[in-house]
């Protein structure tokens, strides 16, 4: 088997995650889709690390995880505060970006 298959898998997962962001309306699920996209890119980075034979790819994947953790913390806090004020976790209910 060619390790390139890992890259195909990563691409597939990334695409599914992106479609999920577009389709799902629950803000939490939306966030989970973003996490899936990040994980897919991590998989690609790990595979590239193996391709090139150095660990830099893994380091970047590691940093991605840390940043993702930080992002999730802040994002969920935002979801909670939105839910408190609007009593809904649906992103469609808060079309406040329109004037």
């Amino acid at each position: 088997m060619n390790p390139v298959n890992y890259l195909y898998l990563a691409g597939l997962l990334f695409t599914i995650g992106a479609s999920g962001v577009l389709i799902r309306r629950n803000a939490i699920v939306l966030f989970m889709c973003v996490e899936l996209m990040l994980n897919a890119s991590n998989l690609a980075l790990v595979t590239f690390s193996r391709l090139h034979g150095n660990l830099d790819g893994q380091i970047i994947a590691f940093f991605t995880m840390v940043v993702a953790a930080a992002e999730v913390v802040v994002g969920l806090a935002i979801i909670v505060s939105i839910f408190r004020t609007r009593h809904s976790a649906s992103v469609d209910d808060s079309n406040l970006m329109k004037l």
Binding site: P3, V29, A69, A70
Partner: protein
Amino acid sequence: MNALALTGATSTGEAVQFWILAVIAVGGALGMLLMRKAVHSALCLAATMIALAVCYMAQGAVFLGVVQVVVYTGAIMMLFLFVMMLVGVTSEDSLKEQLKGQRFAAVFCGLGFGVLLIAGIANAKLDHFTGLADANAEGNVQGLARLIFTKYVWAFEVTGALLITAAIGAMVLTHREHVKAPSTQRELAAQRVKDNIQVPPMPAPGVYARHNAVDVPGLLPDGSIAEDSVMATLRERGQIRDVSQEMLQRMAELEETTADWLGRPSSARPPVAPPEQRRALQKVPTAKSPSAEEGSE
């Protein structure tokens, strides 16, 4: 298999493992995408992440595989579940798409993007895999540590600052400041009398032994439910468990049994009314209540 990963070639074992993991990962991802309930989506995503963790390990990234399990599956997914509990565990997307053409466009873009990505990967010259034998010579963790604390030390420090900032940001966002002193019992009572809307205490929930729970509303004398008796959060989520019809039916059975035992003539017995259709709640969305019962039972 690990040894093979180090050299860049793949064994049959890894191939088998990959196909199994790939199916699990893609299935989990699709499940997350298609499940209506957020909890189910989260569980599907956890499965995908575990599968990915194994993939990392298979490719010689042992440390990352462990971190993946600990941080993602262990911490982040749990955080998701926590928030879900806070927001309402049973809340789910309605099936109706409100944005015209959004679903179609999303599927179209997704397919197109996937095709392009895969075509791009297929076109790339990726035939030679170096393998991590040299890089992992003194161990994966040691290798990573050498890089993190030398080449990437500045990024590492900055990441630490980012995490601290995120933690403080989350606290600030979720913290509620009291803009005025909280009202005392006396003030609340005075306010209630002044408003003259609900002067006596709210009716208590869970008036029957079988269902002595906060999501069971009290019944009014005519058998309808007292919506006020359920706490506002549950009402908001549509998580009222309406047992009034069931109760009335059981009361009727009880009356019947008592009458049988006392040997009353049928004329003296109260008429057995057929179960009525309960009137629609005015403030509470009732469409979700059957699934709410399912979810909790």
